[in-house]
């Protein structure tokens, strides 16, 4: 069974891009454009890894992360930050990697494989 990645981003074009890259590499995907939807999908879809945007309307990425790690069932899902913010590597300390938009898709895939294989 292919592994599933939850894409969290409020920009539909970027969601589409990540879906393309990940599906072409054989991953299953599910997507959310805000923190509330993302938390619901986290429970329902049980993703193996999450790509997380930082800046979104209403609540921003770090809040999703804080809420996620309070849930013992999902608090060890690896998170990769994908954002246009500068200094993003500081926003979520335990993120396995962080990529600044615009990002290199090859490097993103490498980081995902590394996180899932370890």
């Amino acid at each position: 069974m292919s592994r599933k990645i939850l894409i969290i981003d409020d920009d539909p074009y970027i969601v589409k891009y990540l879906e393309d890259i990940l599906q072409d590499d054989g991953f299953a995907t599910c997507t959310a454009s805000n923190v509330a939807d993302a938390l619901e999908l986290l429970k329902k879809e049980k993703p193996d890894l999450i790509t997380l945007d930082l800046e979104m309307p209403n609540e921003w990425g770090p809040r999703f992360y804080r809420k996620m790690i309070q849930d013992p069932e999902h608090n060890n899902v690896p998170v990769i930050v994908v954002s246009g913010l500068s200094g993003i590597h500081l926003a979520i300390k335990n993120a396995v990697a962080s990529f600044k938009k615009p990002f290199n898709p090859k490097e993103l895939l490498e980081a995902i494989h590394k996180a899932l294989d370890s």
Binding site: D11, K16, E55, P57
Partner: protein, 640 residues
């Protein structure tokens, strides 16, 4: 240079730590707090001149904190950090007197610049305050000296009126206490030309001459006793004034003005003589000092680069400096609130009212109109003027013109906002373009036509948006001259329609064109007006994004006209707007599109239409779509 202390408030630990470290590297002493309550406690103790706070925090919000801090110390510079979707709150913060706000993502250059400005403002404010208190001290000194001189004059008057009432006094010679306060030599002599009583000042300077002859203190009586003022007063039974030289205990000689008054007994004979002597040199010195002080004060008063006036408790302008007269007109004798503020009653926040109440210095910022009819941003300071009994009788009002500073600040604030918001927008667009190219490339490799087309459409749309964003910024950054030409209405409308139809198609929105017949022409800048209309059309298309499949998006672009103007009507059946959105529509950086909007487009569109002498009307109902009508006059003569 050492920096002013900063209190940094953010609930996100990561951001707080990074900012604190960066600021400390720059040399700012930094205290940090993770919540509004913690920040308030620190502020109470430290009174940091600069506070930087995040707007969104659990518990006490940034705006609540701003309000509290401003209540405790209005002079604090508070810089708000706002997220992307916080423009409303940012505007609200400005109303509560936030000094600045910067957007996330925080660009450190923009941030340090905001801090430098806050520091500058804080320092300038302190200097102004010192300046005002120096002035106050000067005014106090001057008043004290005036009072001194007046006291002397009063003593003389007192002395001249004394004769009549002194008969009763003569019975009680020991009572010199009332003279002891006088800054002159007062003595009483009997008809045997002997000193019988002297005041303290006399005793200290000329010695205890009680019992001595009335002429013994003088050094210049050529004819001895016959020239003595007391003796002559007794002989003539009349008051007299003369100038003589007295000898002090320390051996110095002083020229004095001598006034002598006879005190007659009931038998009409002179019983006693009251003698007053004033040191002439001291009086002259005092007059000179007063003149110099007055001169210096006047110079300072006139040359301080502020409008200064002195007002009484009714806010009547008693005097004003040269710049005041030059900038606001000669308003002396008029009421401040009537003549400067054009009001029927004193201003609600008037700092003078507060100064008269508590004797402290106060400030307020407001807008006033100068003599040329220009609006100026004014920082108004007030300080009390007290009389000798400590009563506040008048107040000094100092108005500083800070228009240039405010203009610059507004411009910089909006540029800062613009940079933050567009940099982020462009990064998103670039990533989207990467995605479209990836999709296009994949489609080409796998010969998947649907994917190629999809990627191509995205690419077209995203580059279009990028182009528009850049054009918007350029337009905002630089006011361009309009290129006036005669424009054929129908051709212009068709052109605008064609540019937008691809976008509409890509979004599955039906864009219809309805041009009335014989519309003729108008004068304007075709390319720039087309971009304004394009902006509104694109918004209309975007507004149909959420339409259900059974009610597909529909935008009507309808052009009509009469003899004077052309009306471009754009009607959509999309989401519509609530009242608040409609009110803020044309404000810079307002966007209802979240990440997809920069908040510049409609602001610029409105400016363009206004430059053409036209206007835009908006009707909208939530859930039922919107109608924008852009009216453009046909002729340049009615255009602005």
């Amino acid at each position: 240079m050492s920096h002013l202390p900063i209190l940094l408030v953010d609930d996100e630990e990561g951001i707080r730590t990074v900012l604190a470290i960066t600021l400390e590297d720059e040399g700012y002493p930094v205290d940090t707090a993770s919540s509004g309550n913690e920040a308030l406690a620190l502020f109470q103790a430290g009174r940091h001149p600069i506070v930087v706070t995040d707007i969104r925090m659990p518990g006490m919000s940034g705006v609540d904190l701003l309000r509290e801090i401003k209540r405790i110390e209005p002079k604090t510079e508070v810089i708000m950090i706002s997220g992307h979707a916080d423009i409303d709150v940012a505007i609200q913060s400005l109303k509560h007197d936030a000094s600045d706000f910067i957007t996330k993502p925080i660009n450190m250059d923009v941030f340090t610049f905001a801090l430098q400005r806050a520091e500058e403002r804080s320092t300038m404010r302190r200097q102004l305050e010192e300046h005002t208190s120096n002035l106050e001290a000067l005014v106090e000194r001057k008043s004290a000296q005036l009072v001194e001189v007046e006291r002397r004059a009063a003593a003389r008057q007192l002395f001249e009126g004394l004769t009549a009432s002194l008969e009763a006094f003569a019975a009680n010679l020991d009572n010199m206490s009332m003279f002891n306060q006088m800054p002159m030599f007062v003595s009483i002599h009997n008809r045997n030309h002997e000193v019988v009583a002297i005041n303290d000042h006399y005793r200290q300077r000329l010695g205890d001459l009680v019992g001595q002859k009335s002429w013994s203190m003088f050094d210049d009586l050529l004819n001895g006793e016959r020239d003595c003022p007391v003796a002559r007063t007794i002989a003539d039974k009349a008051a007299r004034r003369a100038e003589h030289v007295v000898r002090c205990i320390n051996g110095n000689h002083h020229a004095v003005a001598v006034d002598t008054v006879p005190i007659t007994a009931s038998d009409d004979e002179v019983e006693l003589v009251l003698e007053f002597m004033v040191d002439l040199r001291e009086a002259e010195q005092l007059r000179e000092e007063l003149r110099t002080t007055q001169h210096k004060y006047q110079q300072l008063f006139d040359q301080t680069p502020c409008f200064i006036s002195v007002q009484n408790r009714d806010f009547t302008i008693l005097s004003s400096n040269a710049r005041h007269k030059d900038g606001l007109g000669d308003l002396e004798g008029g009421l401040c609130y009537e003549r400067i503020m054009h009001r029927a009653s004193p201003c609600r926040d008037c700092p003078l009212i507060k100064t008269f109440e508590d004797g402290e210095m106060h400030q307020m910022e407001t807008v006033i109109t100068n003599r040329k009819g220009e609006q100026i941003n004014a920082l108004i300071w007030s300080a009390p003027i007290r009389d000798t009994s400590g009563e506040i009788t008048e107040a000094i009002e100092m108005i500083t013109d800070i228009t240039q500073i405010r203009k610059l600040q507004d411009r910089l604030t909006s540029l800062g906002l613009l940079l933050g918001s567009t940099a982020h927008g462009i990064k998103g667009l670039l990533t989207g373009i990467d995605g479209a190219i990836y999709r296009l490339g994949g489609g080409l490799r796998n010969k998947n036509d649907a994917r190629v087309e999809d990627g191509f459409n995205d690419l077209q749309h995203l580059t279009g948006r990028m182009k528009q964003t850049v054009l918007d910024i350029l337009y905002y950054a630089k006011k361009r001259e309009l290129n006036w030409k005669v424009i054929d209405v129908a051709a212009f409308a068709l052109n605008t329609y064609t540019t937008m139809s691809a976008k509409a198609e890509a979004k599955n929105v039906l864009l219809e064109l309805d041009i009335a017949k014989n519309l003729g022409s108008f004068k304007g800048d075709a390319s720039i007006l087309a971009s304004a209309l394009g902006n509104i059309l694109e918004n209309a298309i975007d507004a149909c994004n959420g339409n259900e499949p059974d009610a597909p998006g529909n935008v009507l672009f309808k052009i009509t006209g009469d003899a004077n103007q052309i009306a471009f009507q754009i009607t959509d059946n999309g989401a519509g707007m609530d009242h608040e959105t409609r009110d803020k529509l044309f404000t810079l950086f307002f966007s209802s599109k979240g990440i997809a909007g920069t908040g510049i487009g409609l602001f610029v569109a409105n400016e363009i239409v206004q430059q053409h002498g036209g206007n835009i009307t908006v009707e909208s109902e939530q859930g039922h779509g919107s109608t924008f009508i852009v009216y453009i006059p046909r002729e340049l003569s009615v255009q602005v």
